[in-house]
C-alpha cells in the first residue's frame, strides 16, 4: 500500500473547510418527502459513514450530491464553496466521484474504454486510451487497484468491476468518493480488500462517504457516521464514541434485537432427505456434485457459502424450477415420499402441493410480479387454492381479504393491498413474499437470501417468523451469504463450495474463521494456518446482550 501520505494524511483537520457541507437539503417526490432539512458535514480526509434503513433517503441524498436530482431547497458547499450541482458533469468537475450500488459499466467494453467514457481528451480515442493506460498503471500501484485494462467488463468478477468504478472516479480526479452500499455484492474477502483500498485512499487525503446499512462496516472503517431515518438526519457522531446498539437504535427509532432469540431445537422426524443430488447445467457446468443432507421437523438447516457455489441451483431444484436444459440426478424424499426430479410432476406447483413453501433468492424477478398489486402477489403460486376461487372465476374479494389479513400479520407498510409490489420498499416487498409462503404453513420452507437488501427492522421481523415456523415443528432450509444470518438462525450449518457440501457444523461450536475456510474450499485435512488473518468479522454483533424489545 502506498504509505506516502500527503500533508493532509489521514488526520482530520478541523480548521480546514468541510469537503462536503449540506445545509437544509429537502427533496420530495410527489407526496413522499425523501429528504427533509438535511444537514451534513464531512471533514476532509476522513471516511464518513451514512447509515439508515432502506428508504431512509440515503441514496436520494447522494444522488442530489451527484447531480442526479435537484434539491427542492437547501445549499451544497464543496470545500467551503457554495455550488449548484445541476448535472453529473458539474459534480465530476467539483471533484465528486460516485460508485453506484448497481455499477454503471458497459459490459462489452474493455476496462480502458469504460474508464475514458465521458472523460475523453479529444475527438479521437487513441490518445485518450494511451493516457488512461498510463494513469491506470500508476493508480494500480498507488492504491492496490489492479485490473487488466484490456479485459472486458463481463469477464471480470464483481469485485474487480467495482474497482473499475473506483478507478473511473479517480481517473476523473475525484477527491470526494461516494460509495453506495459497496459491499452488498462482494464476498467477505473482496469486502476486506475494498476496505484496504479505501484506507489507502484516505491516507492520500481523499474524502470518502460510505453509504451502507451494515453496522459492522461503519464500526470497522469509518471515522464519523451520520444516521438517517425516514428522510431526516437524526444524528451525526464520531464512530469511536458510539456503539452498534446505539446506531441500530437511531436507525429504527427503537431498540432492536440483533441476535435472534430462540429456544433449543426439538428436531422430529426427517422432513426432507436429499441424497447425492447432481445438476449439470445446459452449458455442461457441474453445479451440484452430489449434495446430501437431511432436515428434520422443527429444525433450521443453514447453507452458508459464497454465492455462485450451487446454492441457487439447489434452491431452484428443490423448488421445482431448475434452469432449462439442466441434467439432474439423485433423490429427494419429502416426508418419506420420493419426489420426481424430472417430468410434469417435478414442477413448482407440485412441490407446493407437497407442502414446500419457497421464498426465492431474487424476490423481484421470482418472488413477485413487480407491476401487480400486493393482493395479487399474495395469491401467486396458490391461485388454484379453493378459497381463492369460485367456480371458474377467481374470488378477488376473498383474495383481497386474505391479502389484507396477511399484510396485517406481517406488518407490511403501507398496508395497501392495491399498491403495486414495485412501490413497496425492499423490506416490505420481502415481507409480502414471506407472508405468502409462511402463512400457508408449509412442512418445509425454502428460504433464499431472506434479508438481502432488507432493513434492520424487517430483518428482525422476518427472522422471528422463520423461527416461529420452526418452533411449530416445520423444517426450514435457509440459504444465505450473510454469515451473521446463518449463524444466528440455523440449528445446523452446512457449508457449500463448488457444488459440494464441505461440512456441517453447529453454530455455537464453530467460528466465522472456520466457516470462512470451508467456504473457501479448504477442508479439515488442509493446512489450518492458511488464513489466520481473517478478521473476527461479525464478532461484535454476536456479543450483544439479548435485550427484549
Amino acid at each position: 500500500m502506498a504509505a506516502a501520505a500527503q500533508q493532509t494524511g489521514g488526520r482530520p483537520d478541523t480548521a480546514a473547510p468541510y469537503a462536503i457541507e449540506l445545509r437544509g437539503i429537502s427533496k420530495a417526490f410527489g407526496p413522499v418527502q425523501a429528504n427533509k432539512d438535511i444537514d451534513l458535514r464531512v471533514r476532509k480526509g476522513t471516511i464518513h459513514g451514512i447509515i439508515g434503513e432502506n428508504g431512509a433517503g440515503k441514496s436520494t441524498l447522494m444522488s442530489i450530491l451527484y447531480g442526479f436530482y435537484k434539491p427542492d431547497r437547501g445549499e451544497i458547499l464543496v470545500n467551503g464553496q457554495p455550488i449548484t450541482i445541476a448535472d453529473s458533469q458539474t459534480a465530476i468537475r467539483a471533484g465528486i466521484g460516485m460508485v453506484f450500488q448497481h455499477f454503471k459499466l458497459v459490459q462489452n467494453f474493455t476496462v480502458l474504454e469504460n474508464i475514458i467514457l465521458g472523460a475523453e481528451d479529444g475527438g479521437l480515442l487513441r490518445p485518450s486510451l494511451t493516457k488512461a493506460r498510463g494513469v491506470l498503471k500508476q493508480l494500480a500501484q498507488e492504491y492496490q487497484l489492479n485490473v487488466d485494462p484490456d479485459e472486458t467488463i463481463d469477464e471480470l468478477s464483481v469485485g474487480h468491476q467495482q474497482r473499475v468504478e473506483i478507478l473511473k472516479a479517480l481517473y476523473r480526479q475525484a477527491d470526494i468518493l461516494i460509495l453506495d452500499e459497496p459491499t452488498g455484492v462482494l464476498t467477505p474477502a473482496e469486502a476486506d480488500h475494498l476496505f484496504r483500498i479505501l484506507e489507502g485512499l484516505k491516507a492520500e487525503g481523499k474524502t470518502i462517504i460510505l453509504i451502507t446499512h451494515k453496522l459492522r462496516e461503519i464500526m470497522e472503517i469509518t471515522d464519523s457516521v451520520s444516521v438517517m431515518r425516514r428522510g431526516q438526519m437524526v444524528a451525526s457522531v464520531e464512530t469511536d464514541g458510539t456503539s452498534p446498539e446505539e446506531l441500530a437504535e437511531l436507525m429504527v427509532g427503537r431498540k432492536v434485537l440483533l441476535n435472534v432469540e430462540k429456544a433449543p431445537p426439538q428436531p422430529g422426524a426427517p422432513v426432507l432427505e436429499v441424497r447425492d443430488l447432481k445438476l449439470v447445467d445446459d452449458e455442461g457446468v457441474e453445479r451440484l456434485r452430489g449434495v446430501s443432507f437431511d432436515i428434520r421437523a422443527g429444525e433450521i438447516l443453514g447453507i452458508a457459502g459464497v454465492s455462485g457455489n450451487g446454492q441457487t441451483q439447489l434452491l431452484e431444484l428443490l423448488g421445482g424450477f431448475p434452469e432449462k436444459g439442466a441434467k439432474v440426478s439423485g433423490s429427494i424424499r419429502m416426508n418419506g415420499q420420493e419426489l420426481d426430479l424430472t417430468g410434469t410432476k417435478s414442477d413448482a406447483a407440485t412441490r407446493r402441493a407437497r407442502g414446500i413453501g419457497h421464498v426465492p433468492e431474487d424476490r423481484q424477478s421470482e418472488g413477485l410480479i413487480m407491476d401487480f398489486a400486493a393482493w395479487e402477489n399474495v395469491a401467486f403460486g396458490y391461485h388454484h387454492a379453493p378459497e381463492y376461487n369460485r367456480g371458474l372465476l377467481m374470488d378477488n374479494a376473498a383474495i383481497r381479504r386474505d391479502a389484507e389479513r396477511k399484510m396485517e400479520h406481517f406488518d407490511v407498510r403501507p398496508r395497501n393491498p392495491n399498491l403495486a409490489a414495485r412501490n413497496f420498499s425492499g423490506g416490505n416487498q420481502q415481507k409480502i413474499v414471506v407472508a405468502r409462503e409462511i402463512e400457508r404453513n408449509p412442512d418445509l420452507l425454502l428460504v433464499g437470501q431472506p434479508t438481502r437488501g432488507v432493513d434492520i427492522g424487517a430483518i428482525e421481523f422476518i427472522h422471528k417468523r422463520i423461527v416461529e415456523l420452526r418452533d411449530s415443528g416445520k423444517a426450514v432450509l435457509l440459504v444465505s451469504v450473510e454469515l451473521d444470518e446463518i449463524l444466528s438462525l440455523s440449528d445446523r450449518v452446512a457449508v457449500i463450495f463448488d457444488g459440494r457440501i464441505m461440512g456441517e457444523r453447529l453454530p455455537d461450536q464453530t467460528t466465522t474463521g472456520e466457516l470462512g475456510l470451508l467456504m473457501a474450499g479448504v477442508t479439515d485435512t488442509d493446512h489450518h494456518d492458511a488464513e489466520d488473518g481473517i478478521p473476527p468479522a461479525h464478532a461484535h454483533v454476536d456479543e450483544q446482550p439479548k435485550e427484549p424489545r
Binding site: 448535472d87 458539474t90 459534480a91 448497481h102 454503471k104 469504460n114 480515442l125
Partner: protein, 321 residues
C-alpha cells in the same frame, strides 16, 4: 454462364444493394445508440418521394437529394420525439412512421402531380448520372481486370460510391472516435453515459439524425439513381430487408456490407433469371422474386447464428439511482 454474365449480375447486385446498404447503416447508427428503428422503410419512402418531387420541379438531382434528406429527417425527428423525448414505444413509433410515409407520399403525389401517386418521370438533370471513372474506357479491353474495372467498379452513380465509402467511415467513427465510443455505450448501458455526465438524449438524437440522413440518401438513390421518379410503395420492403441484414451483420459495418451484398445478389439473380432453369425443374419467377424476402424471414427467425443486439435497445432511458 460466362464471365460477362457474371460481371453483369455483380454489377446489378451492386446497384441493388446500395439502398439496402445505406438503410442498413442508418439502422446501425440508430440501433447502436439503443433506439430500434423499424421506420427505415417509411423514411426511405418519404425521401424517395420528396427527392423525386424536388428533382422534377427544379431539374436538379442534388436539390432532390437535399429534399430527400429533409423528408427522411423530418420523420426521424418524429421518431426521436416520440421514443426519446416522450419515452414512447420505439416499435410503435416506427410502425406509425411507416404508415405515415406510405399514406402521405401517395396523398401528396396525387394532390401535386395527379398521376395516381407517382411523380412524373425524371429527365437527365433530375437524375444522378453514372460516373465513369478515369481510364475506364482505356482499360476496357484488358482481360479479366478490364471488365471488372470498367463495368463493375466504374459506371455507377455517385451515391453508390458514397454508400461504399460510408462502410469504412462508419467503422472508423464507431471504433476510433469519442462519438463512436459514447454511441456504443449509450446503446449498451445508457446509465454509464449519464453518470459520466454526458447527455443520453443528445447522443440518441444525434444517432437518429444520422439515420435520417442515410435513409435520405437511400431514398434519393431509389428515386433518382436506380429509377427515374417515384412510384407508389417503391421501397418494396427494402427497409425491412435492411433491418434483417443489420441483424445478420450483428450491428457491424463491414458485416453490413456483406449482408446487403447477399441480398443485392439474390435480387440481381432474380432479375436476370426470372425463370431459373435447373434442368429438371424450372424455378418460377414468383419464387425467384421472393428470394430476398425468404432470406429475410430465415435470418429474422434466428437461423443464422446468435446475434446479440445492443443491450439497451428498445428501452427508453429513465434515470434511476
Amino acid at each position: 454462364m460466362d464471365f460477362a454474365t457474371i460481371i453483369q449480375i455483380l454489377d446489378s447486385a451492386v446497384r441493388l444493394m446500395t439502398p439496402l446498404l445505406l438503410a442498413c447503416l442508418a439502422g446501425l447508427y440508430s440501433e447502436r445508440s439503443g433506439v430500434f428503428d423499424i421506420g427505415l422503410e417509411g423514411k426511405m419512402l418519404m425521401a424517395a418521394f420528396t427527392s423525386a418531387s424536388v428533382a422534377f420541379v427544379t431539374g436538379s438531382a442534388w436539390l432532390g437529394l437535399l429534399a430527400g434528406i429533409a423528408g427522411s429527417m423530418a420523420l426521424s425527428l418524429i421518431h426521436g420525439l416520440a421514443s426519446i423525448t416522450f419515452r414512447g414505444n420505439q416499435l410503435i413509433s416506427g410502425v406509425a412512421i411507416n404508415f405515415l410515409a406510405s399514406g402521405m407520399t401517395v396523398l401528396l403525389g396525387i394532390k401535386i402531380f395527379g398521376l395516381g401517386g407517382r411523380t412524373p418521370a425524371l429527365t437527365d438533370g433530375g437524375r444522378f448520372n453514372e460516373v465513369t471513372l478515369p481510364f475506364a474506357d482505356a482499360l476496357r479491353d484488358v482481360p479479366i481486370l478490364g471488365p471488372i474495372y470498367s463495368e463493375l467498379i466504374s459506371g455507377h452513380t455517385i451515391l453508390v460510391y458514397v454508400a461504399f465509402a460510408l462502410v469504412p467511415l462508419t467503422w472508423w467513427v464507431l471504433f476510433r472516435t469519442r462519438f463512436g465510443l459514447r454511441l456504443r455505450a449509450v446503446g449498451e448501458n445508457p446509465a454509464s453515459v449519464d453518470t459520466a455526465g454526458v447527455s443520453v438524449t443528445r447522443l440518441r438524437f444525434a444517432a437518429i439524425a444520422l439515420a435520417g440522413i442515410l435513409c435520405g440518401l437511400a431514398g434519393a438513390y431509389l428515386a433518382t439513381g436506380l429509377s427515374a421518379g417515384f412510384v407508389k410503395e417503391m421501397t418494396a420492403g427494402r427497409g425491412f430487408i435492411a433491418l434483417a441484414a443489420l441483424i445478420f451483420a450483428k450491428w457491424r459495418p463491414w458485416n453490413a456490407l456483406f449482408a446487403t451484398f447477399l441480398f443485392g445478389l439474390l435480387e440481381a439473380i432474380a432479375n436476370r433469371y426470372p425463370n431459373l432453369d435447373l434442368g429438371i425443374v424450372t424455378v418460377p419467377s414468383m419464387f425467384m422474386n421472393a428470394l430476398p424476402y425468404i432470406l429475410t424471414v430465415i435470418i429474422l427467425a434466428g437461423f443464422v447464428g446468435r446475434a446479440i443486439p445492443p443491450r439497451a435497445g428498445g428501452e427508453p432511458y429513465v434515470k434511476e439511482r
